[in-house]
């Protein structure tokens, strides 16, 4: 355990001990988008850890059909019926969630918005960064690394999801800054590894000299990575999410970088803010996490398995 984490742990425990006079055992409902994206798994673990260290519990709600907007709205109904003390929510669709948030507001349950900023409703706080910025920064890292020239391929996520749209926009904005780079193909691989591999194999036929691949998530990046190495391509690849597998690949030099806004920490902070609010302590209106582009040089904190990570202490949380 690093010194900072030890301090953080001590601080959190100390803070928690100081709270014991308050009502403990609060139940926080944490709503995430799906079971498959490691980002949300990290968020769930982070929230659970933070709540446990503050003597509260977390109820996890995930749609049985991944990214189902209707199911998430039903979960909100059920969470209100169950009278959760507070809600931390990563909305599947930041526009369509608004009626759900309004219901939570009407039921007078405090709600914290994490990951994707909802376009309406009253929140105690928003914790996150945004897909557009992460994608843009990650893309800039790749485009710089290929020397600002050459052919680039984009692997997109699922059309129709907000994250895929925003990440694609971020990639394109970064590409606009490097006029000598040519975008030769932009094809969807639906965030899936097998599809990414097959799409990459197909695209390599026409573009064997591609210099860089921008993948909208780590799973696709790794699928593409296998296709590229089999074809003997020297192209650089970036993903988004900072998953364990991606970190291993970056360590091994097979992947250049992965953009992350640290789901684990988002979960921690989201739960911490919800509990602080319930305990009448002050909370910031917004916590914008710094976008981190994980590369060989800074991957140490991401190399830790989820269950061994520690939440940041309250003082370490960047409040804006």
């Amino acid at each position: 355990m690093t010194r900072i984490s030890a301090m953080a742990l001590a601080l959190v425990l100390g803070a928690a001990a100081g709270q014991s006079a308050q009502a403990d055992g609060e139940k926080i409902a944490v709503l995430t988008k799906n079971q498959t994206n490691p980002f949300f798994q990290a968020e769930r673990v982070g929230a659970a850890k933070a709540a446990a260290s503050m003597h509260a519990t977390v109820l996890q709600y995930v749609p049985t059909q991944a990214d189902s907007i209707a199911e998430q709205l039903s979960e909100i109904d059920d969470v209100i019926t169950k009278k959760a003390d507070a809600v931390v929510i990563a909305p599947v669709d930041y526009k369509a969630i608004v009626p759900g948030i309004q219901k939570i507001n009407a039921a007078k349950i405090p709600v914290v918005n994490v990951t994707d900023r909802s376009s309406g409703g009253d929140f105690v706080s928003f914790v996150g960064a945004d897909d557009h910025t992460i994608a843009k920064k990650t893309a800039e890292a790749l485009l710089k690394a290929i020397g600002g020239k050459g052919e680039v391929i984009v692997l997109e996520g699922v059309r129709g999801t907000a994250t895929a749209q925003d990440r694609l926009r971020g990639f394109k904005d970064a590409l606009a800054e490097f006029p000598n780079v040519k975008l030769v193909a932009s094809q969807p691989a639906n965030y899936q590894r097998l599809q990414a591999m097959q799409v990459m194999e197909n695209l390599l036929q026409a573009n064997p000299n591609v210099a860089g691949v921008l993948a909208a998530n780590d799973t696709m990046a790794i699928g593409a990575m296998d296709a590229l190495s089999e074809a003997g391509s020297k192209a650089l690849i970036t993903g988004i999410n900072g998953s364990k597998e991606a970190v291993d690949a970056i360590k091994a030099g097979k992947m250049l970088a992965s953009g992350d806004y640290n789901g684990f920490v988002q979960g921690c902070i989201g739960a911490m803010i919800a509990l602080r609010h319930l305990r009448h302590e002050e909370t910031p209106k917004q916590v914008t996490q710094p976008t981190v582009v994980i590369t060989k040089d800074n991957l140490a904190p991401y190399d830790v398995p989820l269950d061994q990570r520690q939440c940041p202490s309250w003082d370490e949380v960047p409040k804006s």
Binding site: Y61, S68, L73, D77, K82, A96, V98, P99, R159
Partner: protein
């Protein structure tokens, strides 16, 4: 005209047993379950699915399947949202939704009845077309800023009864009358069990089959209206996967995939079972991965109980 395949009293007792077990179990496990507010929630949450499952019953009665429903609901939600933004008129919005749905139904009907493409494949094709159209129209974004008269469809109430409940009651009544009290209903049964009977009676079975799919499409438009109101947005991919829930609900309710044998009320029970299951599991805060298992167990158990009962009798 050959005899109608009338429902024989109580069908799908396996499903009823499972529903009873769930209700008793959930009420015991969670004190919030058996409250009027929660029951209302279950009904409201199931409204879109019921509006899609009722016409799906008709389709399955004709030995068909409609896999395009999810994509068409999404497309209709987008279309009607755009019309609502442009005109602000609820009537025009309603018409737009039903029209787009009916057109999709017409495509299905043309492929299935006239080109003789098997329903599984034909509706897969319509799914692709609807999905693409919705994505192209919206660029992948949801359509928001809907006028309040549209939001009333899900959120409002008349004389204290929430609007969606009025809609589904009306829908059920209309479909019940159509299926059991009109000649069209007997044609639907015949399309599944006995197409020759229609031809012998001088009725074009192709036109009737087309009508079934067009009718289904129109109802899909109504479902889209309720969904868009619930989301306060039209969304190009919001309803993906709904078709399988609908098909499961119809099958749970005792409608067979062959021979034009079915029970409309059973579909209602099937939808209710699915809604109760999800709601109850959420109230118990059962982890999502276990919830996924439970859906499968519900389906298998309902049929297994029925099968075991049939063997013993």
């Amino acid at each position: 005209m050959t005899a109608l395949a009338l429902p024989k009293g109580m069908r799908a007792p396996g499903l009823l047993a499972v529903i009873a077990i769930m209700v008793v179990g959930f009420a015991a496990a969670s004190r919030d379950f058996a409250t009027p507010g929660n029951v209302l929630n279950i009904v409201m949450q199931s409204s879109t699915l019921l509006l899609v499952a009722l016409p799906m019953t008709f389709v399955i009665l004709t030995e068909g399947l409609d896999l395009s429903v999810g994509a068409v609901v999404s497309l209709c939600s987008v279309a009607l949202a755009e019309v609502a933004l442009a005109t602000g008129s609820l009537a025009m919005t309603f018409a737009a939704g039903m029209l787009v749905g009916a057109l999709a139904g017409m495509l299905n009907g043309a492929l299935i009845a006239y080109l003789r493409i098997p329903p599984f494949v034909a509706t897969l094709g319509t799914l692709g077309a609807a999905q693409s159209l919705a994505l192209i129209l919206t660029g992948g974004q949801s359509v928001t800023g809907l006028p309040s008269n549209l939001l009333f469809i899900y959120g409002g109430s008349i004389l204290g009864v929430p609007a969606p409940i009025l809609i589904i009651v009306a829908a059920y009544a209309i479909m019940h009358v159509l299926l059991y009290l009109t000649p069209f209903g007997s044609y639907v049964f015949a399309l599944g069990g006995n197409r020759e009977a229609l031809t012998l009676a001088g009725i074009s079975w192709r036109r009737m089959l087309m009508a079934v799919y067009v009718l289904g499409g129109a109802w899909v438009g109504v479902a889209a209206l309720v969904l868009a109101s619930r989301l306060s947005a039209g969304h190009p991919t919001a309803a993906i996967g709904m078709e399988f829930d609908a098909i499961a609900a119809v099958a749970l309710g005792g409608t067979s995939f062959e021979r034009g044998d079915g029970w409309l009320f059973g579909t209602l029970l099937g939808v209710a079972a699915i809604g109760i299951l999800r709601n109850g599991l959420n109230l118990m805060a059962v982890p999502s991965s276990v919830q996924v298992c439970c859906v499968g167990i519900l389906v298998i158990l309902a049929f297994a109980l029925e099968a075991l009962r049939a063997r013993d009798s």
